[in-house]
């Protein structure tokens, strides 16, 4: 078409020449294997990327140098040459004694940080002896009902030296309080301890669905921890804004990116409204992303995340402080991608996903164990997962240069495409009045459900291949792998400690502390000091959450 040709650039003309002279004759002889090539997010991928695709991208404005705005290439000028990522395996099962032993095993084998998985009763704010906890104690994580359990969990682990990440959300302020009291009892100074509280309640309503209170009071509890940590635990990250669960629930890579960063913006907005200084609390916000199967799409997602965050912090909140602009994140490989069939194949999936996280510049990484589609990992499976990270770090050479894939025509185009998609979602969510209102309207939830359904259909059509499941399946699979079994004696053990704790504590101090907590909640004061007093008096998690339920009520999910 002569008209468009007038406007096409030299780069575009070069592509056209290639198409005419080389591609078309080749395609005439041998057509491609299929009509459409798609990412795991069902996004179309072009045959070839070339300088024509990166023309709209400006090196200085969009890519730049590591350690410089907009941080597309990473937040550290030296990448992993200065410091490797933290190898932080998520672990927790059964009793605090057993998880404590697993922690010590992982540290001994070279893991560099801890990450606690709590069981479902703990995540939901119920004690081990609650009727609702039956069958669930110690199953999906470690059971913690009071400070007595927390003391056992971290026994012999120096909290001033080891950083601990806690995956806890609805009752996060209570578990943070327990952690602080244990640290204090060890003689660790709050000014020196570091670690991360997941504390991302928005993604609970969107995807993970472990909620307790209605959204607004739950957001207030999050802001309480921001304020408290900023004042008293300056090196602690009070939130890990999580896309992981959003992705696991079925979101595409772009939806994971968009909803997570928009959640982040929502927390900043609430913090600012509560009177906090952006450049004091935002630098301690951290993020958490998934590492799924589509290698380049994932790397593009992490790079886009850093670029978008720095731009949004600048444009929305007027910050120019580099630590506010720098997005730091943890990565976990995609549990949802693991298969029950031919489970050892999962080791390979995890290695490739982890490599994407590293090439995307993650600050810390969890690699899933190959048996996680069957049960919680055994020691052996957990060890191979850790070794996978060590092989990437020590053998592959990908850590030798910063952002080794920067400048790739495909990767840079994809990074830009991710950014554009996320910004389009921001526009929609802003139009709804922010993320809290969008969640109340069911918007992100519906988007994710739709994507999950489309993906399932694509798998069933065979458009998305899962090796060992819808292709290369085996009728007679080799024998199963050994799995970790957690029986009901765990609950008995936990209930016994709970009863002992209740009988030995000063019940007057407990009821006083709970009264104070309710009063703080009613008066809209910061709830952290009263929460710390309550856990110190050995008030249980269930008692503390009940007190807050009395004041705040409980969340009911709307039907959609």
């Amino acid at each position: 078409m002569p008209e468009t040709k007038e406007h096409s650039s030299a780069a575009e003309e070069a592509v056209e020449r290639w198409q005419n002279e080389t591609l078309d004759p080749a395609m005439a002889k041998r057509p491609e294997r299929k009509k459409s090539f798609q990412t795991v997010s069902l996004q179309e991928v072009d045959r070839l990327y070339s300088p024509a695709d990166t023309e709209p991208i400006d090196f200085n404005d969009d890519i730049s140098f590591p350690g410089e705005f907009p941080y597309t290439r990473g937040i550290h000028p030296t990448g992993y040459r200065g410091k490797l990522w933290t190898m932080r395996q998520f672990a927790g099962f059964s009793t605090p004694e057993q998880t404590n032993a697993r922690f010590k095993y992982l540290l001994k084998e070279g893991q560099t940080g801890l990450s606690v998985a709590y069981d479902l009763p703990t995540l939901m704010g119920y004690d081990a002896d609650s009727e609702l906890s039956e069958g669930e104690v110690g199953k999906c994580g470690v059971a913690v009902s009071s400070l007595a359990d927390m003391e056992v969990l971290f026994d012999g682990i120096p909290l001033e030296q080891v950083t601990v990440s806690q995956t806890i959300n609805a009752p996060a302020s209570v578990l943070l309080a327990m952690y602080l009291v244990v640290a204090e009892k060890q003689g660790a100074s709050w000014s020196k301890i570091s670690g991360t509280l997941q504390n991302d309640i928005l993604k609970e309503y969107i995807a993970q669905k472990e909620w307790i209170y209605p959204i607004k009071p739950a957001m207030k509890l999050v802001v309480d921890t921001f304020a408290f940590c900023t004042e008293h635990i300056p090196r602690y990250n009070p939130v890990s804004v999580s896309g992981y669960h959003i992705r696991e629930a079925g979101a595409t890579a772009a939806q994971e990116l968009a909803f997570t960063l928009r959640d982040g913006i929502e927390y900043v907005t609430w913090g600012v409204e509560a009177g906090l200084d952006v450049d004091r609390f935002v630098p301690r916000m951290s993020f958490f992303f998934n590492a799924h199967n589509d290698f380049f799409e994932e790397i593009a997602k992490y790079r886009a995340a850093r670029r978008i965050w720095s731009r949004e912090m600048k444009s929305r909140f007027g910050s120019s402080y580099e630590r506010t602009l720098q997005l730091r994140f943890h990565t976990q490989t995609a549990g949802v991608s693991l298969t029950v069939q031919q489970p050892l194949n999962n080791i390979v999936r995890v290695a490739i996903q982890a490599l994407a996280g590293v090439l995307g510049g993650t600050q810390s990484l969890h690699t899933d164990a190959y048996d996680e589609a069957l049960a919680l990992p055994t020691d052996r499976a957990a060890l191979i997962a850790l070794r996978t990270q060590q092989i990437i770090a020590e053998e592959t050479g990908v850590v030798n240069t910063v952002d080794p894939l920067g400048g790739s025509y495909y990767l840079e185009s994809l990074t830009k495409q991710m950014e554009d998609e996320a910004v389009e979602y921001f526009r929609k969510i802003d139009g709804m009045g922010g993320m809290v209102s969008a969640i109340e309207k069911g918007f992100p939830q519906r988007e994710i459900q739709d994507s999950a359904y489309q993906y399932q259909k694509a798998v069933e059509r065979g458009d998305q291949v899962i090796v060992g499941v819808n292709k290369y399946a085996m009728a007679d699979e080799p024998s199963e792998v050994p799995i970790l079994v957690i029986d009901e004696t765990v609950r008995t053990h936990q209930v016994e400690r709970l009863e002992q704790t209740r009988s030995q504590r000063d019940s007057g101090a407990v009821s006083n502390a709970l009264k104070k907590l309710k009063l703080a909640a009613k008066n809209n004061d910061n709830t952290m000091p009263a929460t710390i007093e309550a856990v110190s008096a050995y008030a249980t998690l269930g008692e503390i959450c009940s007190a807050l339920r009395d004041v705040y009520g409980v969340y009911e999910e709307p039907a959609f």
Binding site: L120, P121, L123, M124, Y126, L132, S133, E134, G135, E136, K139, C140, E204, Q208, K209, E210, W211, E248, A249, G250, V336, L338, T339, V340, Q341, A373, L374, A375, L376, Q449, A452, Y453, Q456, V459, E460, I466, V469, N470, E480, I483, V485, I486, E488, E557, A559
Partner: protein, 134 residues
């Protein structure tokens, strides 16, 4: 054969909030022409059995990923039988270790669908196994 549509209750017992599978199944069964009632999260076995009776369903699909299946499934099956739902099929989907499969079938679970199961197979199973009503 009556023309009555197959009615299925998709249920999430226990404290687990992972509802991706339950929602995908509910939509796939609806697309296959079945009537589907989804309980929402955190239903006790008692609530699930009561809903099954009230909705007069042909099958209950229980989604569990937390490892609590050995506690929850026997109670659901027992309560359904006590309430006279003799022909109501109980299907389980989720993360269930191989060694528990036989146990679940023994207590009356019709089939267990593990990760990687196709929705087509679940639809087919229901069509072949739901008892026709007069």
């Amino acid at each position: 054969m009556s023309n009555r549509k197959i009615r299925v209750l998709v249920a999430k017992p226990g404290l687990d909030g992972h509802d991706r599978g339950a929602k995908v199944i509910a939509r796939a069964l609806r697309d296959a022409g079945m009537e589907v009632i989804y309980t929402g999260l955190r239903q006790t076995p008692e609530m699930i059995a009561a809903a099954a009776v009230q909705e007069d369903v042909d099958a209950v699909g229980v989604s569990i990923l937390s490892g609590a299946h050995n506690t929850l499934c026997p109670r659901i099956v027992q309560l359904l039988r006590e309430k006279g739902m003799k022909d109501c099929l109980v299907l389980v989907g989720g993360i269930v270790p191989m060694e528990d499969l036989a146990k679940l079938k023994e207590i009356g679970v019709a089939e267990v669908f593990l990760p990687g199961s196709s929705t087509e197979n679940i639809v087919k199973f229901l069509r072949e196994n739901v008892k026709p009503r007069e």
